[in-house]
Subunit: 319 residues, 2 copies
Amino acid sequence: MKSFAVAIHGGAGVISSSIAEDRRREYLESLRAVLSCARELLEAGGSALDVVTEAVRLLEDDSKFNAGLGAVFNVEGGHELEAAIMEGASGKSGAVAGLRMVKNPIVLARMVMERSAHCFMMGEGAEGLAEEFGLERVENRYFDTPHRLEQLRLFLAKRNADCGVIDRGVIEDAGGGGGGGGEGGGTVGCVALDWDGHLAAATSTGGMTGKRVGRIGDSPIIGAGTFAKDGVCAVSATGRGEAFIQHGVAHEVAALVRYSGLSIEEAADEVVHRQLEVGDGGLIAVGCSGEITMPFNSTGMFRGAADSDGLFEVGIWAE
Amino acid sequence: MKSFAVAIHGGAGVISSSIAEDRRREYLESLRAVLSCARELLEAGGSALDVVTEAVRLLEDDSKFNAGLGAVFNVEGGHELEAAIMEGASGKSGAVAGLRMVKNPIVLARMVMERSAHCFMMGEGAEGLAEEFGLERVENRYFDTPHRLEQLRLFLAKRNADCGVIDRGVIEDAGGGGGGGGEGGGTVGCVALDWDGHLAAATSTGGMTGKRVGRIGDSPIIGAGTFAKDGVCAVSATGRGEAFIQHGVAHEVAALVRYSGLSIEEAADEVVHRQLEVGDGGLIAVGCSGEITMPFNSTGMFRGAADSDGLFEVGIWAE
């Protein structure tokens, strides 16, 4: 039984092991910095809910990952962001989708959870709530980055080559993690167990390169991309959203732990390696005793884990 | 083992047993008509997927229920509709939210499932898809009905009486079924098992009276309001969306069947009567052998069930 535990991810997908050494170092540095911050907060007695909020907020502000600044472009050259957070103690959650002007979607998700009668808000209604709550708002182009624009160019060139196919061909891009072409981190998330034994999970993403305007993925879907329940586990997923929605991945892991008596690791492996298909993505999960597991079935997943027993590790590919 | 089975619902909530005898008859007539149609389609060899689509489409066109025509008003006096459908054989699903001009949301959900690379579409992007697909579109005021307008008036009067509370006070209205004041059917849904042993589920709703613009409930959330998996069960839920999202109700029923060895009835009872709170709502579920269960913890639930053994019943309150 650990006093606290935390895991983060920055997306799963096709991550070439040939990315330049300096870029690799930059990714690992980012993961280490966020993980250090999360560990410090937990050590100081911070709540799991505050820790997952803060870790995801930091990852949103890091342009290397596909959430907040650095989010992928949709097919019209804009950004639509989504996020969710869930508190294991109360079972309360907050989720947002189709955001265009909220700098930190995870902060709005948290406020939806705590200050709204609803738990899932989309589009202009969600933006209006952000304004009421006084959250920082930005122009949609604030989220632009050159490497995401290059990914959109590659996506559009490929789609035009597959002429006649209007609404196909975007399914391979796991959170902007690679399939769309170019290189970049993906969806971000964090799960944590705090000193009081409470669990929490949070996920944020820009979706997939070239997605249609209005597409919602698994990240803001409680039970698919995000789930937390005290006494069971907290899960944040990353990958091909449609597959994660189909299997109710995050809730399925929790159900296997509760009803099949599997360990967190066994349950996560069952879902990632036997229910999902190779290439779909991965997840991070923490159990109520601080067990951490981070399986993925893609070539890589940006990730990190730390706990009160001294664990502190980050990674991209399988060991 | 039955050759086919089907169940429908028209919402759970506070349904006064003192509603006028003629109104009661009208509700039961509507339920019987839709159930007859669904049974005929199944008898004739129709697929579960086609049957749930058609049953929900009919309920959307019936102004007594809170979906399509007759949907409740949001706080700004407009309508935002949502729906989802899931096919048990393939695990594929389609969902839509924040629709303002699509006459039959369930038909768009079906087309999202079958003809889009995405499985969940919202707002203007979803409307654009409806236009591309050539679906029937209407002005938002097409959905207006006098009794829903009266419910909004009562809601706003009550909210203004609770002065200072800006974003609270709408949580008690289960799918427009009563808590908001006035009388009316709620969220609609259908689950079916066909001759080939395939399962499907569909749900459609206008949400809750006085909801904020942009609020998404559980109906379009795969795993919360809607879920189907061949060999396990198909589920459509109705009630206080936030609670159904928290518990991942539809997926939880399936998980209890798969991993705890409970019958469909036991699993549904566990979720409705022990996990949810009294008044939250109910669900309909059909198992892979044609078992039907329709538990609710509210005062009533508009519902009906039929199967190949001759079952044909409709009801509103507990027996």
